[in-house]
Amino acid sequence: MSGTPILELRDFRYTYLEGTPKANEAVRGVSLEIQPGERVAIVGPTRSGKSTVVDSFAHLLRLKPGQVFFEGEDVAAPGYDRGALRRKVGIVFQQPETQIVEDVVGADVAFGPTSAGSPAEETRGRVEESLDGVGLPYRDFRLRYVYALSGGQRRRVAIAGVLAMRTPVLVLDEPTAGLDPRGRRELLDLLGRLADDRKLTLVVCSASLQDASLLCDRVVVLDEGRVVMDGPLREVLRRDEDLVRLDITLPEPIAAARELRHLFPDLPEDLTTEDDLERELVQRLGTP
């Protein structure tokens, strides 16, 4: 690792409702460095602290100083410009529908750029690009009412709203939950493309490695508020027994390979794509 990490957590701990009878310790000492341009998956079962870690990136919690750093600066230091931080770290929440602030689709997507002071003409361009990007054609959707849209469409509006802010860091919490297979594929393609084109730093949070394995090359596994694994995707995938024990859904090819190992005990552990699996199987079955 070299250079200043764009995001860094140093022994980050967080307790919700601290000092009340309902205190709930969510994160118990997470240290993590993310370099610019990295694509990191943060995976873990429910209550592992993923969402709290995500919230900390944009200072959406009562943070204590010395724990969360953006480009080397302590975000909880007095006088730190949180507004500027939130213009650089875009977060798509687990239920992105809650992020919608305006009634009309176009106005909502324009909200971020406008409040960041982008000129009207540029904002228009960004809205058009973002809406087209998430598969809601700008011309048809910009004047529609948000509340008249379906759940999946609303989610795309919310994602477009974050994309339009053109943040160098994009954090997504369970981005594909509740989407149909086609919507899921489209969204993953879009995110991969955006990350390539704009050299984004991408953080994807999930209980499943299925989507993360297609987008990310590094995986951080959390359990009960602590980091239990951190490494390149292929290395983490090799520890499939541990992942299954943590109740983390494996990518389909890996899960299939686990089952097929009854027949072919020598199948490799790091088959991330269906093509890898197919190739290995064809090899073992012998080409007809």
């Binding site: 009562r62 949180r82 992020q99």
Partner: protein
């Protein structure tokens, strides 16, 4: 950040497993009702002092931290002070002498005294109901209310339905609070800074949350109705309880103690 759960204690249930938590729910409800009646009969500072002393004692027994309770009531007390200031300034009863006067506004000893008694009465009412909810789980509260009100069923009052409506209303308070916090966080991430600016700006930003809160509230109510239908809800008819409430001698003793104390506070 917006942390309403830290700042609104009303309607929360905190289980510390104390003596107060274990008292039969019917007895607690009856005692709270008794205190409410007493608060309308008592009309001097000494009486309220005595009555409040009992509630403070109950709070200590319940092992609910006082700091948590006070911090969670700051909004309420602030609002109360605001109202009492008007009560004093616009006091219209007989006044023996004015401490300060300007047009229709005045401060008199009598005005201060009535405002003080009124304030204590409201604090007492708030304290007793909040404490009841802090120490009684919703299930116990429902069962207790239902049993206490069951005689009314004879004159065809739909007790079960009324209690259900009450319970749903109470239960939705924390849900809405959680939802507001989540909305505020989500919108902050998009550049609506809920954690910056003066009190007025902050209050105006809260307005942005109201429309989605209402829409989600209606959606939630719809879902709940469907859920109840699919689980064959048909009111309280022919319904039996898994847990039958039994009040023992200590429960009756507690009720007797509260009754005696309130009588003393009234007559003193």
């Amino acid at each position: 950040m917006l942390e309403l759960q830290r700042n609104v204690v009303f309607g929360q249930f905190v289980d510390t497993g104390s003596v107060v938590h274990r008292v039969d729910a019917r007895v607690k409800i009856a005692a709270a009702a008794l205190c409410i009646v007493a608060s309308f009969l008592i009309d001097d500072l000494l009486g309220f002092g005595l009555a409040l002393a009992l509630v403070v004692g109950i709070q200590a027994l319940s092992r609910i931290p006082l700091g948590f309770f006070l911090r969670g009531s700051a909004f309420f007390f602030g609002f109360l002070v605001f109202i009492l200031v008007f009560q004093v300034l616009f006091y219209t009863g007989e006044a023996s002498g004015y401490l300060w006067r300007w047009g229709i506004l005045s401060v008199s000893a009598e005005g201060l005294y009535t405002a003080g008694v009124l304030g204590l009465r409201v604090v007492f009412l708030y304290y007793i109901t909040t404490l009841l909810m802090l120490t009684t789980s919703l299930v116990d509260l429902t069962n207790g209310l239902e049993l206490l009100l069951s005689p009314l069923q004879k004159i065809r009052v739909p007790v079960n339905e009324l209690v259900l409506v009450f319970v749903i209303a109470v239960k939705f308070v924390p849900i809405f609070i959680e939802e507001m916090e989540r909305l505020a966080r989500a919108q902050t991430a998009r550049g609506v800074p809920f954690d910056e600016g003066g009190a007025v700006t902050r209050a105006r930003r809260l307005g942005r949350l109201l429309v989605p809160i209402f829409i989600n509230g209606f959606a939630r109510a719809d879902t709940l109705t469907t859920a109840m239908h699919t689980r064959s809800y048909r009111g309280g008819r022919n319904r039996t309880k898994l847990r039958v409430m039994k009040a023992g001698p200590p429960d009756w003793l507690a009720l007797a103690l509260v009754t005696a104390w309130m009588l003393a506070a009234w007559q003193l």
